[in-house]
Symmetry: D2
Subunit: 211 residues, 4 copies
């Protein structure tokens, strides 16, 4: 299972969480990555944790003030990027362009989508993986694997054999993680459950413990 921890724009210390995630990954062998604010990618990568961007633009180098150039996040230490998160939905053509930009910069891609139909569409754009996150469950504490298990199995079917599926929204315990795996997910997107925990390290350890 791939555990991808999205720090969003939370008021948290990204370096402290990254260091904890690096330790947990080392100790357990579970693949754990952290996606901080773009400006923090460099400091997060220095902890040794696998570091992801939350978004990259579809542009190449040039006159694009305020863009997030894939090469720039790679230079800062990122090795992958989310695209089309429900808080950063993109145009179909720009998701396509973003995947291509990430490929050029050597970044792995996970394209998010809201439902199995959109997952089927996103998978056809040939990202490294897709992630299904029902927007209505994000931040609720009710795991998608419990609230709506069919959305996960349907997404796995919709993505096809060649595109792995992650799932997200409401996942915070090891039990949720196991449930996601049993439904066919090859990873999970986490956010507030760890990033806003009183003790993020303990939260991560508890999460991956059953694996």
């Amino acid at each position: 299972m791939f555990v991808l921890l999205n720090l969003k724009a939370y008021a948290c210390d990204p370096v402290e969480i990254a260091a904890a995630a690096a330790d947990v990954a080392d100790e357990t062998g579970v693949r754990v990555a952290v996606a901080p604010q773009t400006a923090a990618i460099g400091r997060v990568a220095e902890t040794g944790v696998e570091t992801w961007a939350q978004h990259v633009s579809g542009v190449g180098s040039g006159s694009h003030t305020g863009s997030t150039l894939a090469e720039a996040v790679a230079d800062a230490g990122a090795t992958g990027t989310l695209l089309n998160h429900s808080e950063r939905r993109r145009r179909l053509a720009d998701i396509d362009a973003g995947i291509r930009a990430a490929e050029r910069a050597g970044l792995e891609t996970v394209v998010c989508a809201n439902n199995p139909r959109q997952i089927a569409a996103a998978a056809r754009l040939e990202p490294d993986a897709v992630a299904v996150e029902p927007p209505e469950l994000i931040g609720t504490g009710t795991p998608v694997s419990k609230a709506d298990p069919e959305i996960v199995t349907d997404s796995v079917a919709a993505a096809g054999d060649e595109v792995p599926v992650l799932c997200g929204a409401g996942i915070s315990t090891g039990e949720d993680l196991l449930a996601a795996a049993e439904l066919g997910a090859e990873g999970v997107l986490l956010a507030s459950g760890v990033a806003k925990a009183d003790d993020p390290r303990a939260a991560l350890e508890a999460l991956v413990e059953p694996l």
Copy 2:
């Protein structure tokens, strides 16, 4: 004069340019700042140069995946931010929110606009400064101070006494800089003229030499 060097998404080495800018600022006493890609803010700030963001989101901390939180760029070492660059035009309400977000994070703000009428509007949102850049002159090598001097004087009048005006588009020589100052501008936005120069340090030195 304030010289603000926007590195956009150019394929350049932001640290090398930042180091040169820091030296030129030290040697000449001219205020020079560098605005790199968000992911490079930390490394640029380490050179000691005044570091700006190219953009910040209008949001506060929270569930805003892919945003550019003002506090995050400030934590990385930025002390100011552009807003509403013509390559990153924002909604009126979001420029307002972006200025407020920057203020909360202790960032200085320069709001860009295309013409004196928009400059008048932008100045009413109470940024620290505004910058007029006619989009049709960006990247042309024809300086706004020569091609359209009235747009600068009209912008200075439109901004009012309390909001300083920078100008940009096509500025690359010391002569352009002096011309801008004579028209009432208190600074300039630079980009390709320095960032794409064979020798950025020499380009910067030549630029600030007449001051």
Copy 3:
């Protein structure tokens, strides 16, 4: 007082409401306009009521599929347009372009904004009028003139002598209308209070009765 009734995307009969509005305007001499969905502008205009668009694009004629060309809404019978409604916020440059496009097509303009600072900015773009609508009060039934009277008086001051101010959000009774007028507003934006009323004609009559 100018009463501008925004039908949004409500499930209502725009022609029935327009006919009622035309009658009320005729009978009372109060200026009443109706802003329906773009596709209904022609049928609403045929009732004889003053007809407004909810939005126009900033473009001129050309290759702009899916745009709302100012000339096209004028041809259909509209004589004015809202711009930058809080449900259709636009970029600063596009509000400027939209006002210019409306002028070319002979449409009157009312630019909406959220607060006095944005009203000051919008007024500098030289529309025919501005409208302040605190987003948090839209659709609440609590009139802005009661919940936050200072936002109206501050907006009147911010707009300056040459740009009339309308106010909106939560206005549904004649008392609200009078209160708005006393605060310096020269008109009101209405929506659900009339459009969703069981008897829109009676709601309009009751509204303008005190004038």
Copy 4:
């Protein structure tokens, strides 16, 4: 073959073109539809021609000022809608929502995309048809069927057996139409070739003559 004539925001008389299209469809039995500006849908539909929208929003009825409600364009007489035209690219989630909104309103849907990969994605969202239009050929007069025939055959393969493919960009003659049909397209998107012709009726007649 389905001939879908997109009038964009051209400075043309939509009713005159619609009347000509209605006649040509009657005389030849070829399916011809016209997609005018939203504000002109009612008058175009009155000519008896099959009438399409250029775009609908993904929303349902409610507080959506400035949206293009699918039900509103259907009430005005449209029976279908383009979605995601390259001049009106939409977010993946909003294309999905737009198709669902169109279905609820009884509108047929054609989702545009730039290349076979995006066509594969769009087809998975279950529209009635997809249309491939390479943006670089739009308005050039060089037909996609000649300039890049593989993009059409690849799109037909990518869409799968259940989703018909239209093609567009640069199509203006009967020969172009036949070439498109031979490549597997079940229709074409036309725009400037007819809408900007000196004699739109003659242009349409010449176009469908070989069928």
